[in-house]
């Protein structure tokens, strides 16, 4: 798994590459550090699939941003990931762009 973080003003973009599952989730969890950013974009264009281990991380991050008055966006969701988000109802919670 590769995680590339870029900051532009108050916007933090975290681009994830590789599958997100039980094996890789701890790596992603370590990479989801937002600091004082008011806007975070999680770019999933290179994530072929994601299991519930990844959903757990997305939910936790989303709640953290909400609590800090910030906003988290999930971008470029691939079809297999999208299916999982739809099945679990996460599409309604997360800000998908």
């Amino acid at each position: 798994m590769e995680i590339n973080t870029t900051r532009e003003g108050n916007t933090l973009t975290i681009a994830v590459s590789g599958r997100v599952d039980t094996v890789t989730a701890p790596e992603l969890e370590a990479g989801l550090k937002f600091g004082d950013s008011s806007r975070v974009v999680i770019d999933l264009s290179n994530v072929p699939y994601m299991s519930s281990a990844g959903l757990r991380l997305l939910l936790a991050a989303h709640k953290t941003m909400l609590a800090n008055g910030g906003r988290m966006e999930v971008a470029n969701v691939q079809s297999a990931v999208r299916e999982v988000l739809d099945i679990t109802g996460f599409s309604d919670i997360l800000n998908l762009v």
Binding site: R19, D21, T22, V23, P48, Y49, M50, S51, S52, A53, L55, R56, L59, H62, K63, L66, S79, A80, E83, V84, I87, T88, G89, D92, I93, L94
Partner: protein, 673 residues
């Protein structure tokens, strides 16, 4: 049915009898009543008529008497002869003059006068009613009329009328019947011309010799001969003041009231009786029908239930079996038929499957079906060759088969290692085989039906199935379903429908049923529709690997799986990897297993994958798990259970078993046909 009809008939007849009886009674009652009423009316009428006639006659005769008195006062001579002349002139019978003592001093009748020492007639001493005339002397009356009656003196019928003389005494005239009628006839005619009795009845007055004076019915009949009324009248005759008077009421008129009453009663009684009869009939028949219907329906349902419960009805029947799949259905007609299907393993690698149709319908057919099914299955499960199974079953079924019931069967035995099917056709419809994607009827010469006669041998045919090939069995309830114009569904349509359906096997059965129903277009199903389809899938390629319950081994399993699924299309591969990851995590984190394994089985025709997870952890059935609420807001959302939800939503089939202290979870995906 017949019983109910005769019950209805008896009911109707007894109701009709009661109705007729009550009507006859009513009619009789009202007939008597109307006769009684008619005579009462006639009697009442006579009272009036009598008064009227007497008044009329009296008035007329008083006038005549006054005219006589006037003539006498003008100086008409009063000797007998002159008085007789005057009497003739005045059309009266006799004229007499009496003095204040009541003695007749002048008369047209010589017998009344004193002669030859005999004293003159004296009203006072004469006795009888004569003295009544003396009222004219003492000043109480100026005129007096006696009724027409037999004279006491000489027995002749007379009516005497007197008027007083201012000088004293009185003048009396006497009229016989003829005179009376002559004088008062005109008044009488006027009197009765428009007199009606009881609507259409009336009064007829005649002379003593029966000539009509006044006839209410035919006013111009005066003078013609009268005869007594016939039986169509209620009537009475009385003589009043010398006039024979008939009061008549036509019976038809009197009967009008009766007829109206009887008619009304008939209508009312009729209506109420019909209503009651219908009500009672309805209540009884619906009661009987319910009793009989409930009983019959209950028996029918029990028979059907027994029949259906005897058939394997859980699909897929062998969920772990990847080398073949089998689906069957039976749609029963209203009446219990004798169709059945069956399948079972006859050895570790052979599966028997069959469809059968017992001749006849109803409970006897259903019972024969149960016997046939049991005989074939129990013989087959001993592992005996198919031909021998059929021969044994045939001997048993034809032994003592008095009703000559028989059963047609198509049975095949699939070797699930090789795909070879041995089959016997005992007089059944040829099945459809799909070989290499092409469908056709498997037409071979059938053997004799089972149960027809003993000592029959059964030919065994063979057909080789490759993975993906299938055999479709059915009964004639499918092919012989007619539409409204009598056209049967037929072999051609069936072959077309089976060929066209490339979906899952269960969908094929539904597609055929739908097409048959469409063809029937409302025509009732007459026979059971039974179908079975078996598809050979061949031996799977199977890889089994064992792992320890550690995160390292989880990563290893994940990597192994990714390699094993290398040839699977990406979409399905991703789904399988996500689902597998959920199961891995459950086993490693929560199960408490000491070891676990994953086997990956890939199948062909259709292409598909089965993942079998086996662990020795605590019992955990993911399918029994309640789904989490996926509609909660982010803040309320909990993460547990989502993994199982993803597995259930993306994998099909998913099955769970607990066996030998192990959880065995199978999940998979078919991505080709």
């Amino acid at each position: 049915m017949t019983e109910r009809r005769s019950l209805n008939l008896k009911l109707v007849m007894s109701v009709f009898a009661a109705f007729a009886l009550s009507l006859a009674f009513t009619w009789l009652l009202h007939d008597r009543l109307s006769e009684h009423d008619a005579y009462a009316l006639i009697d009442r009428t006579f009272e009036n008529v009598e008064d009227e006639i007497i008044d009329c006659v009296n008035e007329r005769l008083v006038r005549q008497c006054m005219a006589v008195r006037e003539r006498l006062c003008e100086g008409h001579p009063d000797d007998t002869a002159s008085l007789q002349e005057l009497a003739d002139e005045m059309r009266v019978t006799e004229i007499s003059v009496a003095d204040n003592t009541g003695e007749i001093v002048a008369s047209s009748v010589p017998d009344y006068l004193a002669r030859d020492g005999k004293p003159a007639f004296n009203f006072v001493t004469a006795g009888g009613k004569a003295e009544d005339m003396m009222c004219l002397v003492n000043g109480r009356e100026t005129e007096y009329c006696q009724p027409f009656r037999s004279n006491t003196a000489n027995g002749a019928w007379r009516k005497f009328v007197g008027v007083w003389l201012p000088a004293g005494g009185f003048v009396e005239i006497g009229c016989d019947g003829e005179s009376l009628r002559a004088l008062s006839r005109a008044s009488i005619v006027d009197l009765f011309r428009n007199w009606r009795v009881g609507g259409t009845g009336g009064i007829v007055v005649t002379t003593m010799s029966g000539l009509v004076i006044s006839d209410y019915e035919e006013p111009n009949r005066e003078g013609s001969q009268w005869t007594d009324p016939d039986g169509t009248f209620y009537w009475k005759r009385r003589e009043i003041e010398s006039f024979p008077v008939y009061v008549m009421i036509p019976k038809s008129s009197a009967a009008v009231e009766r007829d109206v009453l009887v008619g009304a009663t008939a209508a009312l009684n009729g209506a109420s009786l019909v209503f009651v009869a219908l009500l009672v009939g309805f209540v009884i028949s619906s009661f009987v029908r319910r009793q009989m219907g409930e009983q019959a329906a209950k028996e029918l349902k029990t028979a059907k239930d027994i029949q259906l419960s005897a058939l394997p009805n859980v699909f897929p029947p062998f969920p772990d079996e990847t080398r073949f799949d089998i689906w069957a259905s039976m749609e029963t007609a209203k009446e219990v038929g004798g169709d059945f299907y069956d399948f079972c393993f006859t050895s570790a690698d052979r599966v028997l499957f069959l469809v059968a149709d017992v001749s006849g319908k109803g409970v006897p057919a259903a019972m024969f079906m149960m016997r046939a099914k049991t005989l074939i299955k129990s013989a087959a499960q001993t592992g005996r060759p198919l031909a021998q199974v059929f021969e044994e079953a045939n001997e048993a079924l034809s032994d003592g088969n008095a009703s000559n019931t028989f059963v047609t069967v198509w049975a095949g035995e699939l070797n699930i290692r090789t795909g070879l099917v041995s089959y016997v056709n005992a007089g059944h419809n040829p099945p459809v085989v799909r070989l290499g994607g092409k469908c056709e009827y498997l037409k071979t010469k059938p053997s004799l039906v089972l149960g027809a006669m003993s000592g029959i041998g059964y030919r065994v045919g063979e057909v080789q199935l490759a993975p993906g090939d299938a055999i479709y069995l059915y009964t004639d309830g499918i092919t012989e379903q007619p539409n409204a114009s009598g056209e049967l569904y037929g072999d051609a349509r069936l072959l077309e429908t089976v060929s066209a359906c490339r979906g899952r096997r269960a969908e094929l059965l539904d597609a055929v049923l739908a097409d048959v129903s469409r063809h029937a277009a409302g025509v009732e199903q007459e026979d059971d529709r039974t179908q079975l389809v078996i598809r050979y899938r061949g031996e799977p390629d199977s890889v089994v690997r064992e792992y320890a319950p550690t995160m390292d081994d989880l990563a290893k399993a994940s990597a192994d799986l990714a390699v094993a699924l290398g040839s699977v299309p990406e979409k399905f591969r991703n789904q399988l990897l996500v689902a597998a990851d959920e199961i891995f995590a459950n086993i490693v984190r929560y199960s408490g297993a000491t070891r676990w394994s994953l086997s990956v089985e890939t199948t062909r025709h259709p292409d598909g994958v089965r993942l079998v997870f086996v662990d020795d952890g605590k019992p955990f059935d993911p399918l029994a798990h309640r789904d989490p609420d996926t509609t909660l807001s982010a803040a309320d959302r909990e993460i547990g259970g989502l993994g199982i939800l993803i597995v259930k939503k993306t994998m099909s089939p998913v099955t769970y078993k607990r066996r030998n202290g192990q959880n065995i979870l199978t999940m998979g995906k078919d991505y080709g046909n």
